[in-house]
Subunit: 336 residues, 2 copies
DNA sequence: GTGAAAGCGCTAACAC
DNA sequence: GTGTTAGCGCTTTCAC
């Protein structure tokens, strides 16, 4: 039983050391993976520690080691299921690798600078930015502070900054091929106003593949990256149901908005009247109302490689920047 | 310009102090909100600090103050859009209040113990558990360590542990009333195998309200809390399309699974053949294929109150446990 | 209002 | 393998 301990309680390594009849260093060693301690000492220490309810103070360790195992994650658009799946996977993978995610959600377009600044103050071991728009200033600051930085789906080529993305080129090609194989000759790409790098890449690859078949691609700009942008696009597209369109949406969420409105509001038949293909493979793409054919980005693999990148840079801060990409695959459902 | 600084660089308060010609304490005061420093000193220090690129080391401060501003969040089921919205809102609110969220995602049913243990080691200022199943052991440990703990949507009444939930009672009643008003006399509740506290409360209130109209409620058990459980339930329910059922799903995600399968697989007309009402108001409930009538839980308000609870307990650790609840409202769309 | 000194709990050289 | 010693960078009495 634990009876009344002083409020500020918290047992320290010294308490354990005294109880075990050893030095603080011995205690420290017992709790440092891969340190050499005799079996006997270890046992004594472990016994004392568990009796006292000792837990190592990671803040103190962090101060001493000049580094915590904290990793900052900066994210926007958590309402997109792809993003939340990404964060989920990343958080789990970080923990699995002994790192601790600090999560900073920001609103689209809002400045992440202040957040990053907080992170830096915490002596984080690294930062992962999945936000759509990481200010260059931030990146520079990380580099200056020697904090490993991984950019997800970003174009920016910065020294000492690693990047990861899915194989957008392959994804774009796959999408084009599926549409072409379905006999679509009039290709259309829905393009969010604020295209981010990964979408540009997908789109470019899509266009390139179309060109190989002498097909030209038409573009249509939609508002944001949301479901409702897809809805909006549907009114124009529904008018063109006779044209046998093959439509590529660089994001499932837009594809779903389009598809849903087309079918349930405009009475368009997909895939009879037109074909639609998305990108991401969010859970909702598999839902019955949609059965959306899409390009799957494997979030777990994504997370694995992201953390790998982080750890490589932690191990070797001076290495040249890497850009890794994870494989994608087409998931054929009913809309192409 | 910053030229070659030693790798371990990082400018300390001492550096700033020297440059400004003051003591370290002076520097400390400048960066401690509400400390008294003369204007002159403040200016000198701020100038030096910005020139040197000084940032206070929060780890050192944390060690000294015996507390960091870190707040642990333990979450499961991030694939449920309600959960991810909740985390998003919570993360933002914490930051707004000067706290820093550490995110731990766990798989359903997995033991959160190890994670909590990590958190405790970081001297966190508090913990928020939105996971469906926080082991009692964990809670006890938090209490023992004097770490404020807020349980989201949990029943457990523990000393020193605060709880928050939406007004489930009202939500359940609202749902029943809507169905009754729509003329439904045969009421059915879909019940996930592992009902969590909040669902039990909603359901109980639903039943109570039905009883007021002398209506009895039938229960149907579905697998988990997922879309596909709703799909599965649809096959039995479709058989009963003649019965004019009024169906309450304690979670939108299940309602959506049911609704989607009913309409798009079994050709059931909703709300003509039966009525369906959900709970949460996730974004997808508003999508065209669904237009689900549901009970909205306001995530922002939820987050606000959660953090409030945390801060109150930080301020007053010995206070009796509180249980706050946030208001809900019915969102009428097309399925009732 | 300001500086000197002590100490938060830990790890890492370095002797033994 | 173990203990001693010296900090990590900060805040905080306590004199002045």
């Amino acid at each position: 039983m634990n009876k009344a301990r002083p409020v500020t309680s918290s047992v320290t390594s010294l308490d354990v050391a005294r109880m075990a009849g050893v030095s603080r260093s011995a205690v420290s060693r017992v709790f440092t993976p891969g340190a050499s301690v005799s079996k006997k000492t270890r046992e004594k220490v472990e016994k004392a520690a568990s009796e006292l309810g000792y837990r190592v103070n990671l803040v103190a360790r962090g101060l001493n080691k000049q580094r915590t195992d904290l990793v900052g994650m900066i994210a926007t658009r958590m309402d997109n299921p792809y993003r939340s799946a990404q964060i989920d996977a990343l958080a789990k993978q970080l923990v699995r690798q002994g790192l601790r995610p600090m999560l900073f959600c920001i609103d689209e377009g809002k400045d992440a600078e202040q957040l990053l600044s907080i992170l830096l103050n915490y002596q984080v071991s690294g930062v992962v930015i999945t936000s759509d728009a990481p200010p260059a200033k931030i990146c520079a600051e990380c580099v200056r502070m020697q904090v490993p930085l991984v950019l997800v789906d970003r174009a920016d080529e910065l020294p000492f900054v690693d990047r990861i993305s899915s194989n957008n080129k392959k994804g774009g090609r796959l999408a084009a091929e599926a549409l072409i194989k379905a006999g679509r000759r009039r290709l259309l790409v829905l393009q969010p106003e604020t295209m981010v790098y990964s979408m540009r890449e997908r789109t470019a690859a899509f266009v390139a593949r179309a060109a190989e078949d002498k097909l030209t691609v038409e573009f249509m700009t939609v508002g944001t990256h949301e479901y409702y942008s897809g809805n909006d696009a549907a009114v124009d597209i529904a008018q063109r149901r006779e044209q046998g369109l093959g439509i590529f949406c660089p994001t499932d969420i837009i594809a779903l908005g389009l598809l849903d409105a087309l079918r349930n509001e405009h009475g368009v038949n997909v895939p009879e009247d037109m074909s639609i293909i998305g990108y991401d493979d969010i859970p909702q793409a598999a839902w019955k109302f949609a059965h959306l054919t899409t390009i799957k980005q494997p979030v777990d693999e994504f997370a694995r490689v992201t953390v790998e990148l982080l750890q490589e840079r932690i191990a070797n801060p001076e290495a040249p920047p890497q850009h890794k990409s994870v494989d994608v695959m087409i998931i054929k459902r009913g809309t192409v």
